[in-house]
């Protein structure tokens, strides 16, 4: 069994108290035979150029509907790569293809150096897959869910039990290990799905909207867990329509819509390139007021947009819009200045029409 994740080194992501951590290290010391392959900081931080997933002209058709229309991307070892897009953009179809859950209609797709359509089983052995639905087994306990899943990967039962214990601690579920899954909250189920996907120590973790529907606490815990895994060298691929999530987690991302890639880059780079450094949100009194303010700010504005009843002006130079408005005595009654963010990029690229 390949172990890319350092087994036994999974520290709980939500802050572990000192004594507990010590106890775990003591436990490790007692089992000197177990080979703990620690991914050192260097190799984890070093984003090598050798890609673990390569897609060229990737397409997915469902009958007449073409969900993915020829997209290209390369995902590097050790990075967190995000697919960002509105509902129906083709994110899930793409991620299902690279998880070997759905056949490729056209184009090339290589995962870990193997063609996706041919080497499904060998690819799945090295992939951790977190589907959008919480498909944990409601008839089993948490521990049983993990042990059964380990059997699907032909793990030895002793190893599986130990690993399951570690992962339940890692996702802060150890106190519920013998509870029935039916009794779990949505957040707990999602954490269990993530724990399950890590049972076989996958090299790549693929998550389809990992925090959709979670409360803020559960979301932070999941983010913490993903960041911890990344530090340990796991490549992470995720889809999201939460900008904050993508901004926090993704090293690089592609913005997709209507089955094609609109933009690609790091979150920061995208923000600077597409909208600018600073956003000024203004709530004008009426249309005339709006017109007046927009006109006054014009020399400093790189891009303007409307979010609901707010006028949003973007600039590359922080403070410049404010200066212009003061100089021309057009300071609006209500305004807010903030750094431009990925959400601005997203709305600029994909528009504001509802996607349902």
């Amino acid at each position: 069994m390949r172990l890319s994740l350092p087994r036994g080194r999974l520290s709980s992501c939500g802050g572990v108290s000192g004594p507990r951590r010590e106890e775990r290290f003591r436990k490790e010391a007692k089992q000197p035979k177990r080979v703990v392959k620690v991914v050192n900081q260097e190799s984890a931080a070093q984003l090598t150029d050798n890609p673990v997933i390569v897609a060229k002209g990737l397409r997915k058709r469902y009958g007449d509907l073409e969900a993915v229309r020829g997209i290209d991307f390369e995902i590097r070892k050790g990075e967190c790569f995000g697919f960002l897009g509105p509902n129906g953009a083709g994110k899930s179809s793409t991620i299902r293809m690279l998880s070997c859950l759905s056949p490729v209609s056209d184009g090339q797709l290589e995962v870990l150096g193997m063609p996706a359509g041919v080497a499904e089983r060998r690819i799945k052995e090295r992939l951790g897959i977190v589907s959008q639905e919480d498909n944990v087994d409601p008839d089993l306990t948490l521990m049983e869910n993990l042990l059964v899943y380990a059997r699907y990967f032909r793990m030895a039962s002793g190893e599986a039990r130990q690993r399951a214990g570690e992962l339940l601690r890692f996702m802060q579920l150890e106190h519920r290990q013998d509870a029935a899954v039916r009794e779990l909250s949505g957040g707990m189920r999602r954490r269990l799905v993530i724990a399950r996907s890590l049972m076989h120590a996958p090299e790549i973790l693929v998550l389809d909207e990992p925090t959709t529907g979670l409360d803020p606490q559960a979301r932070l815990l999941v983010w913490g867990a993903l960041q911890a895994l990344k530090r340990q060298g796991t490549t992470i691929v995720l889809t999201s329509h939460y900008m904050e999530e993508a901004e926090r987690l993704a090293d690089r991302l592609v913005v997709v819509d209507h089955g094609t890639v609109l933009e690609r880059g790091s979150p920061r780079e995208l923000v600077l390139r597409i909208v600018g450094r600073e956003a000024v949100e203004i709530w004008p009194e009426d249309a005339a007021d709006s017109e007046r303010i927009a006109e006054a700010a014009r020399p400093a504005v790189r891009l303007s947009d409307r979010h609901g009843d707010a006028l949003v002006l973007f600039s590359d130079e922080p403070g410049r819009i404010g200066e212009e408005l003061v100089r021309k005595q057009a300071v609006p009654a209500r305004m807010m200045v903030r750094p431009a963010n990925l959400e601005d990029v997203f709305l600029t690229l994909t528009g504001r029409d509802l996607r349902e």
Partner: protein, 257 residues
Amino acid sequence: MKQGSRFWRSAAAVWWRNFLAWRKFWRSSILLNFGEPLTNLLALGLGLGAYVTVMQGVSFLQFIAPGLLAVTSMNAVTFDSGFEGYDRLNSNGVYQSMMTSPLTVPEIVAGEYLWEATRSLLYGAVFFVVVLAFGLVHSAWIALLPIPLLLFGVVFAAPALYVAARAKTHEQLFYYFSLVITPMFMFSGVFFPVQHLPWFVADIIYVLPLYHGVELTRELALGQISLASLWNFLWIVGYAAALMYLPVRALERRLTA
């Protein structure tokens, strides 16, 4: 060889999943699968048996008991593959989660067959104890009963799993039960010999798997072994072989879109 052992280890993992899930509800499950045939046995065997005293040379109770045993197995398998199979596919994502592992659809289906064969054997055995207690077993040939029971696990699971994979709603599953399973139960020679039915009905019955299951079980219980028994057995084997692959394509279509 190595491929073969991987296949069966994967199938065994699916079996184990089903066993763990079953273990949580085994009491109610046995009670449910046991109550109906027992009611039939008592109500019809004792009630109707008071009027129909002899059927094909044995008491009515003795005539229907082995057939009801076969039906118990059929129902245990059909209900699980149909309803539970539908849920595993549609509501709780059990099959979907299996697909995120290296398991393949043929391995999953094989695991289901192993499990349904186990259920068939188990529920058949529970009913057998009752039949034995009524003093209705008269032959050591009954020792061979586990063989057809294990085969029922495939013969009845395959079409039920296929229907579960194709059904869009729970109602569509009921069609299978009320239009296929129940008529088959009523006409397959459990309660009366098929020979007395109009020839066209008898011919249809003759090609259905339950008829041969009922006949074979009765022959084993009463020790009426002949060449016909072998023939019945071959029919069951043939059915298992012919239907085995049926749900694989249907499930593949659902799980790898």
